[in-house]
Protein backbone atom coordinates (compact mmCIF):
# COMPACT_ATOMS: atom_id res chain seq x y z
CA UNK A 1 0.00 0.00 0.00
CA UNK A 2 1.42 3.39 -0.94
CA UNK A 3 1.96 6.17 1.57
CA UNK A 4 -0.57 8.24 -0.36
CA UNK A 5 -3.42 5.79 0.11
CA UNK A 6 -2.48 5.34 3.78
CA UNK A 7 -2.85 9.07 4.24
CA UNK A 8 -6.21 8.98 2.47
CA UNK A 9 -7.46 6.22 4.75
CA UNK A 10 -6.29 8.17 7.81
CA UNK A 11 -7.92 11.39 6.58
CA UNK A 12 -11.19 9.50 6.16
CA UNK A 13 -11.02 7.58 9.45
CA UNK A 14 -9.84 10.44 11.64
CA UNK A 15 -12.96 12.40 10.70
CA UNK A 16 -15.16 9.54 11.98
CA UNK A 17 -16.22 9.30 15.65
CA UNK A 18 -15.27 5.59 15.63
CA UNK A 19 -11.52 6.11 15.48
CA UNK A 20 -11.35 8.44 18.53
CA UNK A 21 -13.76 6.29 20.52
CA UNK A 22 -11.61 3.22 19.80
CA UNK A 23 -8.40 5.10 20.62
CA UNK A 24 -9.87 6.33 23.93
CA UNK A 25 -10.65 2.75 24.99
CA UNK A 26 -7.33 1.37 23.68
CA UNK A 27 -5.35 4.11 25.45
CA UNK A 28 -7.21 3.43 28.69
CA UNK A 29 -6.51 -0.32 28.43
CA UNK A 30 -2.83 0.49 27.96
CA UNK A 31 -2.93 2.86 30.96
CA UNK A 32 -4.59 0.19 33.11
CA UNK A 33 -1.92 -2.33 32.08
CA UNK A 34 0.84 0.15 33.01
CA UNK A 35 -0.95 0.87 36.31
CA UNK A 36 -0.98 -2.89 37.11
CA UNK A 37 2.64 -3.33 36.00
CA UNK A 38 3.56 -0.53 38.42
CA UNK A 39 1.95 -2.58 41.20
CA UNK A 40 -1.01 -0.18 41.46
CA UNK A 41 1.29 2.72 42.35
CA UNK A 42 -0.86 5.88 42.57
CA UNK A 43 1.57 7.90 40.40
CA UNK A 44 0.73 5.55 37.49
CA UNK A 45 -2.74 7.14 37.51
CA UNK A 46 -4.84 5.77 34.61
CA UNK A 47 -6.53 9.14 33.92
CA UNK A 48 -3.18 10.96 33.82
CA UNK A 49 -1.55 8.37 31.53
CA UNK A 50 -4.56 8.22 29.17
CA UNK A 51 -4.88 12.00 28.94
CA UNK A 52 -1.13 12.36 28.31
CA UNK A 53 -1.16 9.85 25.45
CA UNK A 54 -4.34 11.23 23.88
CA UNK A 55 -3.20 14.87 24.02
CA UNK A 56 0.09 13.84 22.38
CA UNK A 57 -1.83 11.91 19.67
CA UNK A 58 -4.21 14.82 19.00
CA UNK A 59 -1.36 17.34 18.78
CA UNK A 60 0.73 15.03 16.55
CA UNK A 61 -2.17 14.48 14.13
CA UNK A 62 -3.32 18.11 14.30
CA UNK A 63 -6.80 16.96 15.40
CA UNK A 64 -9.02 19.57 17.07
CA UNK A 65 -10.40 18.61 20.51
CA UNK A 66 -13.98 18.99 19.25
CA UNK A 67 -13.46 16.29 16.62
CA UNK A 68 -11.94 14.02 19.24
CA UNK A 69 -14.91 14.63 21.55
CA UNK A 70 -17.39 13.72 18.79
CA UNK A 71 -16.17 10.15 19.27
CA UNK A 72 -15.25 10.23 22.95
CA UNK A 73 -18.63 11.67 24.01
CA UNK A 74 -20.09 8.15 24.09
CA UNK A 75 -17.71 7.33 26.95
CA UNK A 76 -18.27 10.75 28.55
CA UNK A 77 -22.03 10.15 28.56
CA UNK A 78 -21.64 7.16 30.89
CA UNK A 79 -20.48 9.50 33.69
CA UNK A 80 -24.17 10.23 34.40
CA UNK A 81 -25.36 6.63 35.00
CA UNK A 82 -22.05 5.85 36.78
CA UNK A 83 -22.71 8.69 39.24
CA UNK A 84 -26.21 7.29 39.88
CA UNK A 85 -24.64 3.82 40.33
CA UNK A 86 -22.62 5.14 43.30
CA UNK A 87 -25.83 4.63 45.30
CA UNK A 88 -25.21 0.84 45.23
CA UNK A 89 -21.91 0.84 47.25
CA UNK A 90 -23.35 3.62 49.44
CA UNK A 91 -26.27 1.32 50.24
CA UNK A 92 -23.82 -1.49 50.97
CA UNK A 93 -22.02 0.65 53.59
CA UNK A 94 -25.16 2.30 54.94
CA UNK A 95 -24.87 0.92 58.47
CA UNK A 96 -21.32 2.25 58.90
CA UNK A 97 -22.21 5.57 57.29
CA UNK A 98 -25.17 6.09 59.63
CA UNK A 99 -23.15 4.98 62.68
CA UNK A 100 -20.50 7.58 61.79
CA UNK A 101 -23.05 10.28 60.96
CA UNK A 102 -21.82 12.86 63.49
CA UNK A 103 -18.09 12.65 62.69
CA UNK A 104 -18.92 12.61 58.96
CA UNK A 105 -20.88 15.86 59.18
CA UNK A 106 -18.13 17.65 61.14
CA UNK A 107 -15.41 16.39 58.75
CA UNK A 108 -17.60 17.49 55.83
CA UNK A 109 -17.96 21.08 57.07
CA UNK A 110 -14.28 21.42 58.07
CA UNK A 111 -12.98 19.82 54.85
CA UNK A 112 -15.35 21.72 52.58
CA UNK A 113 -14.46 25.13 54.07
CA UNK A 114 -10.70 24.43 54.03
CA UNK A 115 -10.71 23.08 50.44
CA UNK A 116 -12.84 25.94 49.08
CA UNK A 117 -11.46 28.94 50.95
CA UNK A 118 -7.76 27.98 50.96
CA UNK A 119 -7.53 27.84 47.15
CA UNK A 120 -8.93 31.36 46.93
CA UNK A 121 -6.80 32.75 49.78
CA UNK A 122 -3.50 31.26 48.62
CA UNK A 123 -4.13 32.25 45.00
CA UNK A 124 -5.03 35.82 46.06
CA UNK A 125 -1.93 36.18 48.24
CA UNK A 126 0.20 35.06 45.26
CA UNK A 127 -1.42 37.66 43.02
CA UNK A 128 -3.66 35.56 40.74
CA UNK A 129 -6.29 37.50 38.77
CA UNK A 130 -9.92 37.69 39.93
CA UNK A 131 -11.38 35.42 37.19
CA UNK A 132 -8.66 32.83 37.91
CA UNK A 133 -9.44 32.94 41.65
CA UNK A 134 -13.17 32.50 41.05
CA UNK A 135 -12.42 29.55 38.75
CA UNK A 136 -10.02 28.03 41.29
CA UNK A 137 -12.24 28.20 44.40
CA UNK A 138 -14.66 25.34 43.54
CA UNK A 139 -11.89 23.01 42.24
CA UNK A 140 -12.61 20.23 44.76
CA UNK A 141 -16.19 19.54 43.68
CA UNK A 142 -17.48 17.55 40.73
CA UNK A 143 -17.24 19.37 37.36
CA UNK A 144 -20.89 20.40 36.71
CA UNK A 145 -21.28 21.87 40.23
CA UNK A 146 -17.87 23.58 40.06
CA UNK A 147 -18.67 25.20 36.70
CA UNK A 148 -21.97 26.55 38.00
CA UNK A 149 -20.34 28.02 41.13
CA UNK A 150 -17.45 29.57 39.16
CA UNK A 151 -19.86 31.31 36.79
CA UNK A 152 -21.81 32.82 39.70
CA UNK A 153 -18.53 34.13 41.16
CA UNK A 154 -17.30 35.63 37.88
CA UNK A 155 -14.97 32.80 36.87
CA UNK A 156 -14.60 30.95 33.57
CA UNK A 157 -16.47 27.66 33.36
CA UNK A 158 -14.02 25.98 30.95
CA UNK A 159 -11.00 27.02 33.04
CA UNK A 160 -12.76 25.64 36.12
CA UNK A 161 -13.18 22.27 34.39
CA UNK A 162 -9.40 22.15 33.88
CA UNK A 163 -8.71 23.01 37.55
CA UNK A 164 -11.20 20.35 38.65
CA UNK A 165 -9.48 17.67 36.53
CA UNK A 166 -5.98 18.68 37.72
CA UNK A 167 -7.13 18.70 41.36
CA UNK A 168 -8.68 15.25 40.90
CA UNK A 169 -5.53 13.76 39.39
CA UNK A 170 -3.25 15.39 41.99
CA UNK A 171 -5.39 14.20 44.90
CA UNK A 172 -5.73 10.69 43.45
CA UNK A 173 -1.95 10.40 43.21
CA UNK A 174 -1.00 11.76 46.65
CA UNK A 175 -3.94 11.34 49.04
CA UNK A 176 -3.56 7.84 50.43
CA UNK A 177 0.25 8.00 50.74
CA UNK A 178 0.08 11.35 52.50
CA UNK A 179 -2.65 10.32 54.94
CA UNK A 180 -1.02 6.96 55.71
CA UNK A 181 2.23 8.74 56.55
CA UNK A 182 0.31 10.80 59.12
CA UNK A 183 -1.12 7.67 60.72
CA UNK A 184 -4.53 7.79 58.99
CA UNK A 185 -4.92 4.20 57.83
CA UNK A 186 -8.66 3.50 58.08
CA UNK A 187 -10.57 3.09 54.84
CA UNK A 188 -13.35 5.45 55.93
CA UNK A 189 -11.09 8.48 56.49
CA UNK A 190 -8.96 7.90 53.38
CA UNK A 191 -12.06 7.42 51.20
CA UNK A 192 -13.81 10.43 52.68
CA UNK A 193 -10.76 12.68 52.13
CA UNK A 194 -10.36 11.45 48.52
CA UNK A 195 -14.00 12.14 47.61
CA UNK A 196 -14.15 15.49 49.41
CA UNK A 197 -10.94 17.01 48.02
CA UNK A 198 -10.74 15.24 44.65
CA UNK A 199 -14.37 14.45 43.66
CA UNK A 200 -14.92 11.74 41.00
CA UNK A 201 -11.28 11.11 40.06
CA UNK A 202 -10.48 10.72 43.77
CA UNK A 203 -13.48 8.39 44.05
CA UNK A 204 -12.18 6.32 41.13
CA UNK A 205 -8.85 6.02 42.99
CA UNK A 206 -10.73 5.05 46.17
CA UNK A 207 -12.48 2.19 44.35
CA UNK A 208 -9.03 0.92 43.30
CA UNK A 209 -8.22 0.61 47.02
CA UNK A 210 -11.44 -1.13 48.16
CA UNK A 211 -15.21 -0.96 47.80
CA UNK A 212 -15.55 0.47 51.32
CA UNK A 213 -13.04 3.24 50.57
CA UNK A 214 -15.01 3.94 47.39
CA UNK A 215 -18.32 4.18 49.22
CA UNK A 216 -16.97 6.80 51.64
CA UNK A 217 -15.46 8.72 48.72
CA UNK A 218 -18.79 8.69 46.87
CA UNK A 219 -20.56 9.99 49.97
CA UNK A 220 -18.01 12.77 50.50
CA UNK A 221 -18.15 13.78 46.83
CA UNK A 222 -21.95 14.11 46.87
CA UNK A 223 -22.14 15.91 50.23
CA UNK A 224 -19.28 18.31 49.46
CA UNK A 225 -20.81 19.15 46.08
CA UNK A 226 -24.05 20.05 47.80
CA UNK A 227 -22.47 22.01 50.68
CA UNK A 228 -20.05 23.91 48.41
CA UNK A 229 -22.85 24.88 46.02
CA UNK A 230 -24.86 26.24 48.94
CA UNK A 231 -22.06 28.05 50.83
CA UNK A 232 -19.21 29.14 48.54
CA UNK A 233 -21.17 31.69 46.44
CA UNK A 234 -21.88 33.81 49.55
CA UNK A 235 -18.78 32.99 51.63
CA UNK A 236 -16.26 34.14 49.01
CA UNK A 237 -17.64 37.69 48.58
CA UNK A 238 -17.33 38.02 52.40
CA UNK A 239 -13.73 36.82 52.33
CA UNK A 240 -12.57 38.77 49.27
CA UNK A 241 -12.33 42.27 50.86
CA UNK A 242 -10.33 40.86 53.79
CA UNK A 243 -7.61 39.56 51.46
CA UNK A 244 -7.62 42.35 48.89
CA UNK A 245 -8.44 45.66 50.58
Amino acid sequence: MSAGSMTEIWVYLSAQPLVWLTLTLATYLLAITLHRKAGGHPAANPVLISVGILVALLLATDTPYQRYFDGAQFVHFLLGPATVALAVPLHGQLKRLVAMGGPILVALVVGSLVAGLSAYTIGALLGASAPTLASLAPKSVTTPIAMGIAERLGGLASLTAVFVILTGIFGAIFADGLLRRLGVKDEASIGFALGLASHGIGTARAFQLSEQTGAFAALAMGLNGLLTALTLPWLLPLLAPLIRP
Binding site: T24, Y28, V51, L54, V55, L59, Y68, A72, V75, L78, G80, T83, V84, A85, A87, V88, P89, L90, H91, M100, P103, A107, G111, L113, A115, A119, I122, G123, L126, A128, L136, G148, S158, A161, V162, I165, L166, T167, F170, G171, F174, L179, G183, V184, D186, A188, S189, I190, F192, A193, L194, L196, A197, S198, F207, G214, A220, G222, G225, A229
Partner: protein, 118 residues
Amino acid sequence: MTAALALLLAFQLAGEALRVALHLPVPGPVIGMALLLVYLILRPEGPSTELRNTAGGLLQNLSLLFVPAGTGVMLHVGRLADEAWPIAIALVASTVLGLLAAGLTLHWLARRPRGAGQ
Protein backbone atom coordinates in the same frame (compact mmCIF):
# COMPACT_ATOMS: atom_id res chain seq x y z
CA MET B 1 -27.77 -5.69 32.24
CA THR B 2 -30.33 -3.85 30.11
CA ALA B 3 -32.85 -3.56 32.94
CA ALA B 4 -30.20 -2.29 35.36
CA LEU B 5 -28.93 0.26 32.83
CA ALA B 6 -32.50 1.39 32.20
CA LEU B 7 -33.00 1.79 35.96
CA LEU B 8 -29.82 3.91 36.29
CA LEU B 9 -30.84 6.09 33.34
CA ALA B 10 -34.38 6.46 34.71
CA PHE B 11 -33.03 7.69 38.05
CA GLN B 12 -30.65 10.07 36.26
CA LEU B 13 -33.60 11.38 34.26
CA ALA B 14 -35.68 11.80 37.43
CA GLY B 15 -32.77 13.67 39.04
CA GLU B 16 -32.44 15.92 36.00
CA ALA B 17 -36.19 16.65 36.02
CA LEU B 18 -36.15 17.44 39.74
CA ARG B 19 -33.17 19.75 39.30
CA VAL B 20 -34.90 21.78 36.59
CA ALA B 21 -38.27 21.82 38.36
CA LEU B 22 -36.91 22.92 41.76
CA HIS B 23 -33.90 24.97 40.49
CA LEU B 24 -31.54 22.85 42.60
CA PRO B 25 -27.83 23.80 42.61
CA VAL B 26 -26.74 20.14 42.32
CA PRO B 27 -26.38 18.24 39.01
CA GLY B 28 -29.06 15.75 37.94
CA PRO B 29 -26.91 12.59 38.30
CA VAL B 30 -26.03 13.48 41.93
CA ILE B 31 -29.76 13.92 42.71
CA GLY B 32 -30.37 10.63 40.86
CA MET B 33 -27.79 8.96 43.13
CA ALA B 34 -29.66 10.20 46.22
CA LEU B 35 -33.01 9.04 44.78
CA LEU B 36 -31.61 5.57 43.95
CA LEU B 37 -30.20 5.29 47.49
CA VAL B 38 -33.65 6.06 48.93
CA TYR B 39 -35.19 3.48 46.57
CA LEU B 40 -32.65 0.83 47.65
CA ILE B 41 -33.32 1.57 51.35
CA LEU B 42 -37.08 1.24 50.83
CA ARG B 43 -36.68 -2.01 48.87
CA PRO B 44 -36.49 -4.76 51.51
CA GLU B 45 -34.25 -7.03 49.42
CA GLY B 46 -31.83 -4.20 48.48
CA PRO B 47 -30.19 -4.00 45.02
CA SER B 48 -30.75 -6.90 42.62
CA THR B 49 -27.76 -9.00 41.56
CA GLU B 50 -28.12 -7.52 38.09
CA LEU B 51 -27.96 -3.94 39.38
CA ARG B 52 -25.03 -4.84 41.62
CA ASN B 53 -23.11 -6.26 38.65
CA THR B 54 -23.90 -3.38 36.30
CA ALA B 55 -23.00 -0.76 38.93
CA GLY B 56 -19.83 -2.69 39.75
CA GLY B 57 -18.84 -2.80 36.07
CA LEU B 58 -19.35 0.96 35.63
CA LEU B 59 -17.53 1.86 38.86
CA GLN B 60 -14.59 -0.44 38.16
CA ASN B 61 -13.96 1.66 35.05
CA LEU B 62 -14.81 5.03 36.58
CA SER B 63 -11.34 6.37 35.63
CA LEU B 64 -12.06 5.75 31.93
CA LEU B 65 -15.12 7.99 32.06
CA PHE B 66 -13.01 11.03 33.02
CA VAL B 67 -10.62 10.64 30.09
CA PRO B 68 -12.65 12.53 27.42
CA ALA B 69 -13.17 15.56 29.71
CA GLY B 70 -9.59 15.34 30.96
CA THR B 71 -8.22 15.50 27.43
CA GLY B 72 -9.87 18.94 27.22
CA VAL B 73 -6.93 20.22 29.28
CA MET B 74 -5.17 20.69 25.92
CA LEU B 75 -7.48 23.63 25.12
CA HIS B 76 -6.22 25.68 28.07
CA VAL B 77 -2.48 25.13 28.10
CA GLY B 78 -1.81 28.68 26.87
CA ARG B 79 -4.17 30.28 29.37
CA LEU B 80 -2.59 28.36 32.23
CA ALA B 81 0.94 29.47 31.32
CA ASP B 82 0.32 33.15 32.20
CA GLU B 83 -0.42 32.52 35.86
CA ALA B 84 1.29 29.16 36.16
CA TRP B 85 2.91 29.63 39.57
CA PRO B 86 0.01 31.13 41.58
CA ILE B 87 -2.29 28.50 40.04
CA ALA B 88 0.03 25.55 40.67
CA ILE B 89 0.84 26.53 44.26
CA ALA B 90 -2.78 27.40 45.17
CA LEU B 91 -4.10 24.19 43.61
CA VAL B 92 -1.55 21.86 45.16
CA ALA B 93 -1.50 23.48 48.63
CA SER B 94 -5.26 23.79 48.83
CA THR B 95 -5.85 20.19 47.72
CA VAL B 96 -3.39 18.94 50.35
CA LEU B 97 -5.06 21.12 53.01
CA GLY B 98 -8.53 19.87 52.00
CA LEU B 99 -7.39 16.23 52.07
CA LEU B 100 -5.79 16.65 55.50
CA ALA B 101 -8.70 18.63 56.95
CA ALA B 102 -11.27 16.02 55.90
CA GLY B 103 -9.15 12.90 56.53
CA LEU B 104 -7.69 13.92 59.91
CA THR B 105 -11.00 15.29 61.25
CA LEU B 106 -12.88 12.09 60.44
CA HIS B 107 -9.99 9.97 61.71
CA TRP B 108 -9.77 11.79 65.05
CA LEU B 109 -13.53 11.96 65.65
CA ALA B 110 -14.31 8.40 64.59
CA ARG B 111 -11.41 6.49 66.14
CA ARG B 112 -12.08 4.17 69.02
CA PRO B 113 -11.25 5.21 72.61
CA ARG B 114 -8.10 3.08 72.71
CA GLY B 115 -6.64 5.21 69.91
CA ALA B 116 -6.67 3.15 66.73
CA GLY B 117 -4.26 4.26 64.02
CA GLN B 118 -1.38 5.16 66.32
